[in-house]
């Protein structure tokens, strides 16, 4: 869905000459960056359509991410609302060092973390550490003394393919992600559900590439384990 792109062709036509000159004067901008400059200029002018396009694009995803840190959906909505205000008031200070998207989500995760701490300590201190070495991601009992599989995992064949639109499996994966430590949940949501790049996620969470990979790996492995239990259970029936 390229909502912003569509929106921009319209916005650019109506952009004042000063903005257009600004855009043309900066060499070698990608299309995305150019669109972003136009979007930010439109927001700074108070263009409602520009704000709406931003909401359409990010709001639901922001609630999803906020929800990883705070205890309820309602609190997540408040955090996101506050983030939008922070974004508007911070627009003048936005320096294009990050993309608009990473800047917004950086504000969001910081707000969600401090809200979680204030709220009810839903997020413990160790959750806020960027990653913890919390042991192997596959139950050590699966391996023999030689550290090779004692029993092979059961093949899923292509059952995810066939199943995934089923409500039960959908709920299972959602729930598996929701019970991960917040940073792991955020990384897997942005990387695997929303298709962000590793670099974007590193910028949002202020973690190194390596830590990002560790968070992603632990998150994926835990979701895999839950799926595996589910398939083993349904197989046994």
């Amino acid at each position: 869905m390229d909502f912003i792109g569509v929106q921009m062709s319209r916005l650019e036509l109506s952009a004042p000459a000063t903005n257009r000159r600004l855009i043309n004067d900066i060499p070698m901008l990608t299309l995305v960056q150019t669109q972003e400059l136009a979007l930010i200029a439109a927001l700074r002018r108070g263009d409602e359509a520009a704000f709406l396009s931003l909401i359409e694009q990010f709001h639901a995803m922001m609630i999803r991410v906020a929800r990883k840190y705070v205890p309820t959906y309602e609190v997540a909505e408040e955090v996101v609302q506050g983030t939008w205000l922070g974004v508007l008031h911070g627009l003048d200070r936005f320096e294009h060092r990050a993309s608009l998207k990473t800047w917004i989500f950086h504000i969001l995760t910081n707000r969600a973390k401090s809200r979680a701490q204030r709220e009810d300590r839903h997020v413990t201190f160790s959750d806020l550490l960027h990653f913890q070495i919390d042991g192997p991601t596959v139950d050590p009992d699966c391996f023999g003394p030689d550290e090779w599989w004692k029993f092979y995992p059961n093949s899923w064949d292509n059952r995810v393919e066939e199943h995934v639109l089923g409500q039960e499996l959908y709920a299972l994966i959602e729930q598996a992600v929701q019970t991960l430590p917040p940073d792991q949940a955020t990384v897997i949501t942005l990387r695997d559900m929303e298709g962000w790049t590793a670099a974007e996620v590193c910028a949002v969470l202020e973690v190194s590439e390596e830590n990002q990979r560790v968070l992603l790996h632990r998150a994926r492995a835990k979701v895999r384990t839950k799926l595996n239990h589910y398939f083993d259970r349904t197989n046994a029936k």
């Binding site: 639901a60 999803r64 939008w84 205000l85 090779w148 292509n158 990979r213 492995a221 895999r224």
Partner: protein, 94 residues
């Protein structure tokens, strides 16, 4: 420099393999580690199944985002936007 063929690569265990899956998929293993990983994969049915399960997990997660979520409280957000707009200096709103 030693000939890599005469110098056998260290053999990975399954337990090590499962912890390297994401690094492998991200393309961040060193060439040597990558060779070890792939050599183990070729030999081990259990790890072939495991890697496939991880890839199916990733695919399943990707499908979740396709569920569209309606934006609740859009009116309230717009109201905030209009409040904010009033604080803009008149010069900017040409």
């Amino acid at each position: 420099m030693t000939n890599p063929i005469s110098e056998p690569y260290p053999e990975l265990t399954c337990r090590e393999f499962v912890e390297l899956v994401t690094e492998y998929l991200e393309g961040s293993l060193t060439p040597t580690a990558c060779t070890c990983f792939e050599a183990h994969f070729a030999d081990c049915e259990g790890c072939q199944i495991y890697l496939d399960q991880m890839q199916q997990t990733i695919k399943a997660l990707g499908k979740l985002s396709e569920e569209a979520v309606p934006v609740a409280g859009k009116a309230q957000l717009l109201a905030c936007f209009r409040d904010w707009k009033r604080t803009l200096p008149a010069v900017i709103s040409v």
